[in-house]
Symmetry: C2
Subunit: 228 residues, 2 copies
């Protein structure tokens, strides 16, 4: 019985990777770079996107957003006033209220995304520090948002997510003096699971550090097209 169960799980994961590759081929054909944004509920993913994409946004880069949520369109509604195309994907309609996006869900949303009109697709995953990390969706890069309000031990408790991303954004820096969070201790836990991974310290509220993050995102398509 145990062997059978493992086989099923492996098949399911393979199916996800197969579909992720198909997504990736579609993105590549349209010249769209895809960034998978993950983090705990309330880490500030949507607030960051609001700030990053407001005004001049990412300059000449044409951006689209895919919002993943269990239910509702609160985040997509917040982003709707920014002049970027936003697509809402709910995991409770037909996907059993899943706690993450997988490749097949993203594939089902593709017809609603204007791939021919964007250069960068930002996918805001379901707020969750566990399962989203297990499912490739066809992305080129992964960015994680962690808030100082969550505590500095999170890389040690949710290692897979911190290990599988290219950038860790430490958000809510404005709260640092009000919470028990040591940046050094966080860096120590982070380096233990993903040594030397790029990290930025920002505040979506005050705007601190957002220029650097905006530059990172703007350069992503070039970096992906011609890796060092």
């Amino acid at each position: 019985m145990h062997r059978v169960r493992v086989r099923v799980v492996e098949d399911a994961l393979d199916a996800n990777n197969t579909i992720a590759r198909a997504n990736r081929a579609d993105f590549d054909r349209h010249g769209v770079t895809v960034l998978n944004v993950m983090g705990a509920p309330g880490a500030g993913k949507t607030s960051l996107l609001e700030r990053l994409l407001a005004g001049d946004g990412l300059g000449d880069l044409r951006v689209g957003v895919l919002e993943g949520d269990v239910q509702g369109s609160l985040d997509a509604d917040r982003l709707a006033s920014l002049h970027v195309p936003v697509t809402q994907l709910n995991t409770d309609a037909g996907f059993g209220g899943e706690c993450h996006l997988d490749a097949n869900m993203v594939r089902s949303a593709l017809p609603a995304i204007p791939l021919g009109e964007i250069d960068l697709l930002i996918v805001e995953n379901v707020g969750n520090l566990v399962c989203p990390a297990e499912f490739q969706i066809g992305e080129d890069a992964r960015m994680m948002v962690a808030s100082v309000a969550e505590g500095d031990d999170k890389p040690g408790k949710y290692p897979l997510m911190f290990r599988t991303c290219e950038l860790v954004v430490i958000n809510k820096l404005d709260l640092l003096e009000h919470v028990d969070f040591s940046l050094d201790r966080f860096d120590g836990y982070l380096d233990a699971v993903n040594p030397g991974v790029e990290r930025m310290r920002v505040s979506a509220r005050t705007g601190a550090g957002l220029d650097a993050l905006r530059a990172w995102m703007t350069a992503l398509p070039t970096r992906v097209a011609a890796p060092a």
Copy 2:
């Protein structure tokens, strides 16, 4: 194919409920009341338990803690200094790194919990606002911890968790003046998914509101034994 898939899911859920009932029978036989504590990563579940159980703790009530984490024993280590028995349950060893506790995982931990020596078992679930709500573990009551740093829209985005608990604890009240969080708006979202559910506003950091929460926990076994 669709019907087959649904059937499998239903069987799995039924199996969980079957095992949850078996857990519950074991808890009842030992006269142990079980509280399932859930919330997002970094909501402050462990910090709250630290504060609640320090010193005189819950008075005459003998408490045990079951700590659920994907990996590591950071939380259990924090609680180890509190003279209460703490059992660590990791979901990555044999359970595939699950993002929640289920009845079978808790059942596997039962031999390590001194049921004969405690009156209240507090189960700290994996930090996650989605899946833990879907799995009964044999508990008598559910308590949710939400932090004001997470934003006031969370009941609208993760309705099942807020709907299936008897008490919602709004933590990190000391941060209220530093974040964009409206208690009224939170209450509005909460009442939309779980009208009138009992709620408490606390700060694990300053201790505000903890007496009321301690009283709620202390009275839980009596309340469970003789429902109104």
